[in-house]
């Protein structure tokens, strides 16, 4: 009889394309490929039109996918309606009978569900994949202070200084409270070492967190697309293309890239094409919107703003740039853009901090620049354009990203270890 993992996600990728829900869904889809395992997917939604009467959950896509209507607060990640959600979840667990419940994210899911799994059965393993620094940082989980500075470690006093609306004690209590729920977790998964270390500093025992990169479905992969850069040195007149992919928001550093473009020497500007692929600017704060719009208006001709793209378009647009630029001004965790770049064997230019610096090996699979520094970004872009053989060397250093199947294999191995341990503890 197969073991069963219930993958719980804060969203379903059919409705939202965030990295966490995509990673969760990829895992769910890949687990059945591993012998002796099957999976069920439970995704939270907040879409009223999906609800059927007072029912909390509905099936989705047929088979093993369930959606449940739910909300949490943004400070404690607690259910807003525990009296409804908890009995339903209890009942749901009885029906699915999972051996492992694997939560991707706890935001919008509800931390109380962690404890409910253990009350349902102490032998059921609880695994949580940490996707952001939400527990560590109540400033959107980004460890980016309200004054724009990077935050390196949370503390009651510093959190209060950053977000003075609450006294320091609230941050102490929040941490203790969240840790109380984390007590029920048998093991944590972090997609990056950087994020793992932040959570260890915050209080999770090191032995309880493993790093497992998010898996990427490799079907349709263009593993070695045409390499326009390979001919660049032969054709001096050819323009080198740099691509920005992702949401256009204050944290992703689009303004930094546009500033860097303006700082490039004229001669270099003529040799580059900086392409911005991403949407969402219209949803950003007015101040940021104005800034980006002005930068775009004043940008040199080498800058082109293409707007949103779909995942299906990615092979053509990412496959047609030479470099992928990630100018994020925050740490990042394990950006899917980096994995996608590797999938298309595109070297990256990234800030030298956090998950970006970890995932992109300087001078091996890409180049680092001093994060949050437009001058240095311009310098690195200039180097990428002018240094012969650089692109080829970095391109050659790129390995394919972890596939969903391999990722599922690693996960199920971990599940088995945890289940064995729980069984031993129960026997003892």
């Amino acid at each position: 009889m197969s073991k069963r993992v219930l993958v719980v996600s804060h969203a379903h990728p059919d409705f939202s394309k965030g990295g966490a829900e995509v990673a969760a869904y990829n895992l769910f889809k890949a687990v059945p490929d591993i012998k002796g395992w099957d999976a069920h997917f439970l995704a939270r939604h907040g879409i009223p039109a999906l609800q059927r009467g007072n029912a909390i959950s509905i099936s989705h896509n047929g088979g093993n996918e369930t959606l449940f209507a739910n909300e949490t607060d943004h400070f404690y990640f607690n259910l807003t309606q525990p009296e409804r959600t908890m009995p339903w979840f209890r009942s749901f667990l009885k029906g699915v009978k999972p051996d492992v419940v694997h939560f991707h994210h706890y935001w919008q899911v509800g931390l109380e569900l962690l404890g409910e799994v253990k009350r349902h059965s102490p032998k059921t393993a609880v695994v949580v994949t940490l996707h952001e620094f939400l527990a560590v940082c109540s400033q959107h989980g980004q460890m980016l202070k309200t004054n724009g500075q990077l935050c390196r470690k949370s503390s009651d006093a510093e959190c209060h200084a950053c977000l003075p609306g609450r006294p320091p004690r609230d941050y102490f209590l929040r941490k203790r409270y969240l840790q109380t729920f984390f007590h029920y977790v048998d093991h944590f998964v972090s997609p990056s070492e950087f994020l793992r270390e932040r959570y260890i500093e915050w209080g999770i025992p090191a032995e309880k967190i493993s790093v497992i990169e998010n898996g990427l479905p490799m079907h349709g992969a263009v593993t070695d697309v045409a390499t326009p850069a390979a001919t660049a040195s032969e054709e001096e007149s050819r323009v080198m293309r740099f691509g920005y992919f992702g949401q256009v928001n204050p944290f992703k550093g689009i303004d930094l890239l546009l500033s860097a473009a303006a700082l490039l020497p004229k001669a270099i500007q003529k040799k580059v094409s900086i392409e911005v692929h991403g949407g969402g600017l219209e949803h950003q704060p007015e101040e940021f919107r104005y800034k980006v719009e002005k930068l775009l208006a004043d940008a040199p001709k080498c800058v082109r703003y293409y707007g949103p793209y779909s995942q299906d378009d990615l092979p053509s647009i990412m496959g047609n740039v030479d470099w992928v630029v990630m100018p994020s001004i925050w740490w990042e965790n394990s950006p899917v853009v980096i994995q996608e770049s590797y999938k298309f064997k595109r070297p990256l230019i990234v800030g030298d901090i956090g998950g970006m610096a970890e995932k992109v090996k300087h001078e091996e699979t890409g180049l680092h620049f001093r994060a949050r520094n437009a001058f240095d970004l311009a310098r690195v872009i200039q180097r990428a354009v002018t240094e012969p053989g650089l692109w080829d060397r970095l391109h050659a250093g790129i390995k394919p990203p972890l596939s969903s199947t391999d990722c599922a294999d690693i996960h199920t191995t971990l599940y088995n270890q945890i289940l064995d341990r729980l069984q031993s503890q129960a026997a003892a």
């Binding site: 009995p87 409910e116 004690r169 109380t180």
Partner: protein, 663 residues
């Protein structure tokens, strides 16, 4: 008091020294009489004073309706009647005045009106009149002058009548013309008696001691002018005592006795030998122009009262020589325990020079003035379960809640990590009726969120920490009571298991507590030790062991301590019951109540242990603003210190009573 006819006089007389001693005692009142006698201006020629119109409506403090006449005989005799007053009870006439150059003491007096004998008396008493003597000395070559007063019993005293007062003075007999007035005779009597009170208290008491008490108490006073005093507070302390504080400064060196008198029962307590003198530099400064004033002229004393009815009938009596002065004490405000406790604490001198003796005065008073709350045994609480109560719990966690309940959510979440098979009974004991609705209203939410059964216990009263705990303990089922403030969060999931194990390993252990940490991880306490308070060795303080130290590389071995903080402790329920729970006469600082309990447990062979391998976070001060809202004086650090000193004093007293080890 009107029913005490005659008793007041006897009582007052009892305050006076024996007559034999009087001659040797310089009289404050003697001086006072000179200073205060406005009825004998020096420039007035006694013999030239014209008779006053009879029937004057003068009242107390004004010239009395006295008619006086020139001396009739003998010619060298000078006589003057200051007052003639008809008194209803005992019926008769009170006449006072002075005589100079008499050949002997006046011994008989008679009053005739229109030839008819109105009244007569075989006694006339004399008293010093230095004012008259001083005046006549200058005018008439040192005549022998003295005051006289007599009471002539009479049942039928005419109003508004002219009369002749016949006096026998040695061999001489003479008469002076007087007029009998009408009007408020009690008031006139009081005025007349006051005129001679300081000069002749004893004689007046001898002859007029049977006057109604209200007249006598009005007569006795005001204070002699050589005495300055003020009573700042008269505070009920329990049902049978009051605390009085104020200041009293004598401008001369005359001996002074001060009595606290319950005028309802006429119980007098001499207080000047036992009262505590306090520094009153303000008084000394204010009176510096009037003579040298002792800077420690303040006083605090505790005095007994017969009953609550006595509170409106209290006075201080000042006895100096043969004089008695009275300072009526305003009826104390109705019993208001908190303000009264606050006032009592406020009586601690800022320098605390005499803290120990101050505490002897005030400590018992504070104990009895503490808020009178319902007692646990008298109230019936309701226990409401959320979820199913655990079967046969080994321990019962009691969480008292007062004023703030916002940390309960965090605490219950933390407690929910205790595995189901080891789950204790959890009782949230609401000691604040105002919180009951919100806590009960959150019950279902907490149960759903944390999946852990718990009960809410409420009496509908604010019993106070000690009584509420006692009340909640009465419904507990665990053999071990875990007292846990709502601002305590465990650091580890197996905290309860580890602490309970101490009882199994150490049968003599009655109380065990964990190490407490502040939220920043530094040490709140590793148990409590009793220590002497350096300036006042009769007080016992509680020292938080290693308070404020970093929590690094600390020993983790189980060890003995004098007590553990009230924030979190485990106590055997049977022991708790046998000792009657915690003592409820400490102020605000629950640690003393626990230390008191531990000391009593020690007396019967139990020990208190600290298990440092278990750490709990204590968010101390979380409820402080609520405390200050309730007791605003606590916002002042000096007040907090006073509260603390009181507790130190009480702890020392209790240890001494129990014969326990102090420090």
């Amino acid at each position: 008091m009107s029913g005490n006819k005659g008793v007041m006089g006897q009582f007052l007389k009892s305050l006076l020294p024996k007559s034999d001693d009087l001659a040797a005692v310089p009289s404050v009142a003697h001086v006072a009489a000179v200073e205060s006698d406005s009825r004998m201006p020096a420039e007035v020629e006694p013999s030239s004073i014209e008779p006053l119109a009879s029937g004057s409506d003068a009242g107390i403090g004004q010239e009395l309706p006295v008619a006086v006449g020139p001396v009739a005989a003998p010619s060298q005799l000078q006589c003057y009647a200051d007052s003639l007053v008809a008194i209803r009870k005992p019926a008769g006439l009170l006449i006072s005045g002075w005589i100079a150059d008499g050949s002997g003491d006046a011994t008989d007096a008679a009053l005739k009106s229109e030839g008819r004998l109105v009244a007569s008396s075989a006694w006339v008493f004399r008293y010093p009149r230095p004012d008259v003597a001083t005046y006549l000395d200058a005018a008439n070559d040192a005549p022998n002058a003295y005051g006289f007063a007599c009471f002539l019993p009479a049942t039928d005293v005419p109003d508004d009548a002219d009369a002749a007062l016949h006096l026998r003075c040695g061999e001489a007999e003479f008469s002076i013309q007087v007029a009998i007035g009408s009007g408020n005779r009690d008031a006139y009597a009081i005025g007349a008696l006051q005129g001679v009170w300081y000069a002749a208290s004893e004689q007046l008491l001898t002859h007029f001691g049977s006057l109604p008490a209200e007249i006598m108490t009005a007569v006795v006073g005001p204070m002699p002018t050589s005495l300055r005093l003020h009573v700042d507070n008269c505070i009920p302390a329990g049902d049978h005592s009051v605390v009085i504080n104020g200041w009293c400064a004598a401008l001369n060196k005359a001996p002074l006795e001060v009595y606290f008198v319950d005028e309802l029962t006429l119980e007098a307590t001499r207080v000047d030998q036992t009262w505590e003198r306090t520094l009153r530099a303000d008084v000394a400064e204010a009176l510096k122009d009037q003579g040298p004033i002792n800077r420690h002229c303040g006083f605090v004393c505790v005095a007994p009262v017969g009953s609550a009815e006595s509170l409106g009938n209290l006075a201080l009596y000042f006895v100096s020589g043969s004089s008695i002065g009275r300072w009526p004490l305003l009826p104390p405000a109705p019993l208001k325990p908190r303000p009264n406790t606050e006032l009592l604490l406020g009586m601690f001198g800022k320098t605390q020079m005499h803290m120990d003796s101050m505490m002897r005065q005030l400590g018992p008073a504070i104990e009895t003035a503490l808020p009178l709350r319902p007692i646990a045994r008298d109230v019936q609480g309701d226990l409401r379960w959320f979820g199913t109560a655990p079967k046969n719990p080994k321990a019962t966690i009691i969480i008292p809640v007062w004023r703030k309940a916002d940390l309960l959510r965090y605490q219950l979440a933390a407690l929910s990590t205790i595995s189901a098979e080891k789950r204790p009974e959890i009782i949230i004991a609401i000691d604040d009726p105002a919180l009951e609705e919100s806590i009960v209203g959150s019950g279902d939410d907490w149960l759903a969120r944390f999946g852990m059964p718990f009960a809410i216990y409420s009496c509908g009263y604010n019993l106070g920490f000690v009584e509420q705990l006692k009340s909640a303990a009465s419904v507990a089922r665990g053999d071990v009571l875990v007292l846990m403030h709502s601002d305590v969060l465990p650091d580890q999931a197996d905290w309860l298991e580890q602490l309970l194990a101490v009882f199994d390993r150490q049968p003599r252990c009655g109380v065990v507590g964990p190490k407490l940490l502040y939220e920043d991880g530094s040490i709140h306490s590793e148990g409590l030790l009793r220590v002497r308070v350096a300036p006042w060795p009769q007080m016992v303080d509680l020292e938080r062991v290693n308070n404020g130290h970093p929590n690094a590389a600390r020993p983790t071995a189980l060890r003995r301590v004098d007590a553990v903080p009230s924030a979190c402790l485990l106590v055997k329920r049977r022991l708790f019951e046998v000792l009657g729970g915690f003592d409820n006469r400490y102020l605000l600082e629950d640690e003393f109540a626990v230390a008191d309990f531990c000391a009593r447990a020690e007396q019967i062979g139990y020990v208190t242990l600290l298990q440092p391998s278990v750490a709990m976070r204590h968010l101390e001060g979380h409820s402080w603003d609520a405390y200050v809202a309730e007791e605003p004086f606590l916002a002042d650090i000096n007040w907090r210190h006073k509260v603390h000193l009181y507790n130190c004093w009480r702890h020392a007293q209790r240890l001494a009573q129990a014969g326990g080890r102090a420090a």
